[in-house]
């Protein structure tokens, strides 16, 4: 059998392929009902092969090795940082999101320099740590600190690395092309397993030594030169460095096309052409939007923001950014959250009645559609305000409120039908229905058809608590 035949594409891998290599004893030590059930979960990446205790024993050594081989991702997974604070990058199984869920959401490293005034440096680090946004009930954050040596002075870099390491446990990227400066930094944070940025055509040998000596992953930087990128990767692998991260260079403006193409070619080579030299995570540096341009700050931040999302869409496994502005980072972290969700997740949630808190017969009844994102948004707003209420979810075939009203997916008939089936009439003793502001024009029809009084709610569910505060219970007429 050739290697090609053994290593089936991840999409072709079936539970049987895994099952055949398992002990097949159905011992249940993994917590699954039998080996076949375990194999299915392994193929779906819901459980790791190491959860099977027997396979780790000497007897199954060869099978374990084969399993690791057939399950290996197309892109190597690299760990930066240690313990609870480690981040994993890469580990991608496929090129396109519809083929399989993307793994390891792109961490965003925010840059500081070793020449920033100490106060500003610590303030920026703290802001990164505290960055948080509640998105459909989930907290989204920034992930890493990248320290650039603009001083090019080992002593300065060392002293700043001490300050940064003292201020945060976030994983670190050390950025300098000067091996002496790099070593001064590594000495300080060696136990933190930072990412070394970067080996170039000029310094690769010294950086390789540092990577081996301090056991830290190493970035290869070959701006807009994939031949050099492959050559350096080959050289470093031969040198004994196993954990590489690739930077083909991020150029905004006129170089953007080349950048997007380089990222795409590297990923296609790794995923579809079995190019082992490029089978490593990609690092994008939207921060370069700030370099060499004389333009107002907000123009540069604007460019950095959209380049970040474009690079994430085209395979960046790690980003280094400069701007910490909320309006720059918010679209970036939300898009990151989005593309790393399971593409099989349905667009629609189940329709029917939902109960929040401990509502009684006087509690409000709200209405929304069954589009997943609409529903989760409303749900998150209700939960964060700790409301006691009922929520009627109408089956609009997974369409959001505004489009559903326009396209007649949300109608008075459907509302009446959902009310009837939900049994809400036995649960509350009032007859007041709160509908989304975007469905206001259905008020009359709903009242006529259902006999319920309609209270038009806010256009955005963030306004629900305020509405209830001001208008609930409704005044009887």
């Amino acid at each position: 059998m050739t290697e090609r035949e053994i290593k089936k594409s991840i999409k072709e891998l079936s539970p049987i392929d895994v099952y055949m290599l398992l002990p097949k004893t159905n011992c249940k030590d993994c917590g699954e009902a039998n080996c076949m059930a375990f194999a299915t979960k392994v193929v779906n990446r819901e459980i790791s092969i190491e959860q099977c205790p027997p396979i780790l024993e000497k007897e199954y050594e060869e099978a374990y090795k084969k399993l690791q081989e057939i399950l290996a991702p197309a892109i190597k997974e690299i760990t930066i940082g240690t313990g609870n604070h480690a981040v994993k990058i890469g580990g991608k199984l496929v090129m396109y999101r519809h083929e399989f869920t993307y793994h390891n959401p792109t961490p965003i490293a925010i840059e500081v320099t070793d020449e920033m005034p100490e106060e500003k440096l610590l303030e920026k680090v703290k802001t990164v740590e505290n960055f948080s946004y509640n998105y459909i009930g989930r907290e989204v954050n920034l992930d890493m600190i990248a320290v650039r040596s603009t001083s090019n002075d080992p002593t300065t870099f060392k002293s700043v690395m001490e300050k940064v390491a003292g201020a945060t446990m976030l994983p670190l990227v050390l950025c300098t092309f000067n091996p002496n400066v790099m070593e001064a930094g590594l000495v300080t944070v060696r136990d933190r397993r930072p990412l070394i940025y970067a080996a170039t055509k000029d310094n690769w040998k010294d950086m390789a030594e540092l990577s081996l000596m301090y056991d830290c992953p190493l970035t290869v930087f070959a701006p807009n030169n994939l031949k050099l990128l492959r050559s350096l990767a080959k050289t470093l692998i031969e040198y004994g460095v196993e954990n590489l991260v690739l930077d083909p260079g991020t150029l905004t403006d006129e170089g953007l096309s080349d950048t997007i193409n380089n990222f795409t070619m590297v990923r296609r080579n790794a995923c579809n052409k079995e190019d082992k030299l490029l089978a490593f995570p990609l690092i994008g540096t939207p921060i370069t939007a700030w370099i060499g341009e004389k333009a107002p700050e907000e123009m540069l931040a604007w460019k950095e923001a959209y380049v970040a999302s474009m690079l994430m869409s085209r395979y960046a496994d790690l980003l280094i950014m400069h701007s910490l502005d909320g309006w720059v980072q918010l679209p970036t972290v939300i898009w990151r959250f989005n593309i790393y969700t399971d593409p099989r997740k349905p667009v629609a949630v189940e329709s029917g009645l939902r109960v929040f808190g401990e509502p009684d017969e006087n509690s409000p009844l709200l209405l929304t559609t069954n589009y997943a994102l609409t529903y989760f948004t409303v749900e998150a707003d209700i939960k964060s305000a700790k409301l006691n209420c009922y929520l009627l979810v109408v089956d609009t075939e997974g369409i959001s409120v505004e489009s559903a009203v326009a396209g007649r997916y949300l109608t008075a008939e459907k509302t009446a039908d959902t009310i009837k089936k939900s049994g809400i009439e036995q649960k509350v003793k009032h007859k007041h229905l709160i509908i989304p502001g975007m469905a206001a024009r259905l008020s009359g029809e709903i009242e006529d058809l259902t006999g319920w009084r309609v209270l038009v709610g806010p256009r955005d569910s963030s306004g629900i608590p305020k509405l209830l505060n001001e208008k609930w219970p409704p005044k009887e007429e």
Partner: protein, 395 residues
């Protein structure tokens, strides 16, 4: 066998396999709609068409550490596709022969195009947009002219929202007059948007088709609901008789998109159909839109003829995201930037997924979009020395 012949053989093999897969999924759909998304991910694998790759042998364990750089070549990973996307003549859109902006393979045949939204009545708009159009909101033709002259619209979309029976119920005749006025005012192709009520839209589109005969407007949009109501035929015929293009709208579901296209083929030439697969806002389902566009485009390139149409994105939907307009506290300000960056990011990720035509609204988002398209259309302009020493540059 030559490389070319091998690939031809490979592509001949694929088509039946693809058809078989598609048939299978349509059956699944009938049984259980929920299964479908999970299964659809296996739909079309670009890897299927890949000729056996040149073997890259893993390097042997190091014996001697290298002392100079070991020279390696880089070969661009180029593939050939049995299919391509049709061209639709407005300004010409579509014609893709590779995934979006795979410049190393095949550059786009035509640059993606931007159409700006205008409305036939004063509508509630986020402040960040309203401030740019406030003076023209009650004059549709003036609004369209502003979009072209000031904001660089390559096309204009006139949304006839006032025709909604629940709003003003403007008659088809009056709505057509608005379209005539806009046609007089601007010299770019038009998209005519309805109100979403299938019956009313059908009546309006028929009238507009006649009045705008020969202008090749895009009717936005035709839906399976119209087919269900038995009024699709009339509208499609009106479009054909008067030389217009139709936008086939479906909600994030490729089997439906294919079904609607099949219905339209009964009346219209294939180069008169543009698809709208639904654009959800960043944070509110954009990932569904992104992935369905990638899937649709790859399927088209792999030979699925029912998906070989240019695609349109209603990018203005990005303003439905609360993050685009909500007051959120000083950390997230200013809103005048947060809103348009939302539209910009929504547009640009869909640009990379293969969208050909973008309905947009905010001037800054439109400007960025046009600039990025211009940059992406040509390669070889990277000045790598600019970033060679980025780590030491003071910002």
């Amino acid at each position: 066998m030559s490389e070319k012949k091998k690939e031809d053989k490979a592509s001949i093999k694929i088509s039946p396999k693809l058809l078989e897969l598609l048939r299978k999924f349509q059956e699944v759909e009938l049984e259980d709609v929920d299964i479908e998304i999970g299964d659809l991910e296996f739909w079309v694998q670009p890897a299927v068409a890949v000729p056996p790759p040149p073997k890259v042998v893993a390097p042997p364990p190091p014996k001697v550490k290298p002392t100079t750089i070991l020279e390696e070549a880089f070969i661009p990973p180029i593939e050939e596709y049995p299919g391509s996307v049709l061209e639709v003549k407005l300004v010409v859109i579509g014609g893709a022969t590779s995934p979006a902006f795979y410049m190393f393979e095949n550059p786009p045949s035509h640059p993606p195009t931007v159409t700006l939204d205008v409305f036939d009545m004063k509508v509630p708009l986020p402040k960040a947009i309203r401030m740019h159009v406030e003076d023209v909101m009650e004059d549709t033709a003036a609004w369209a002219k502003l979009a072209v002259d000031k904001f660089g619209a390559e096309m204009v979309t006139v949304h006839l929202v006032s025709t909604d029976p629940l709003i003003k119920d403007t008659s088809p005749v009056d709505a057509s007059k608005t379209i005539e006025e806009v046609l007089q005012a601007v010299d770019v192709p038009l998209i005519v948007g309805g109100c979403g009520d299938p019956k009313k839209d059908a009546a309006v589109f028929k009238k507009v088709s006649e009045v705008a005969q020969g202008e090749r407007v895009v009717l936005s949009s035709l839906t399976l609901d119209m087919a269900e109501a038995g009024i699709l035929d009339d509208v499609a015929n009106a479009a054909k008789d008067n030389g217009h293009v139709v936008l086939a709208f479906t909600a994030l579901e490729l089997n439906q998109a294919k079904e609607l296209n099949r219905r339209l083929y009964e009346f219209l030439p294939k180069d008169s159909v543009v698809m709208d697969l639904t654009t959800a806002a960043l944070g509110y389902g954009l990932e569904y839109s992104f992935t369905i566009h990638e899937r649709a485009r790859i399927a088209a390139l792999m030979g699925d003829q029912e998906l070989q149409h240019p695609v349109l994105s209603g990018t203005t939907n990005s303003w439905a995201a609360r993050e685009a307009w909500l007051k959120m506290g000083p950390k997230w300000e200013p809103r005048v930037l947060r809103g348009p960056i939302w539209e910009t990011v929504t547009a640009l990720v869909l640009l990379l997924a293969g969208v050909d035509l973008f309905m947009m609204m905010h001037p800054a988002a439109v400007k960025t979009m046009k600039e990025v398209v211009r940059q992406l259309m040509s390669t070889g302009k990277a000045k790598s020395e600019k970033i060679a020493d980025w780590v030491t540059v003071k910002i």
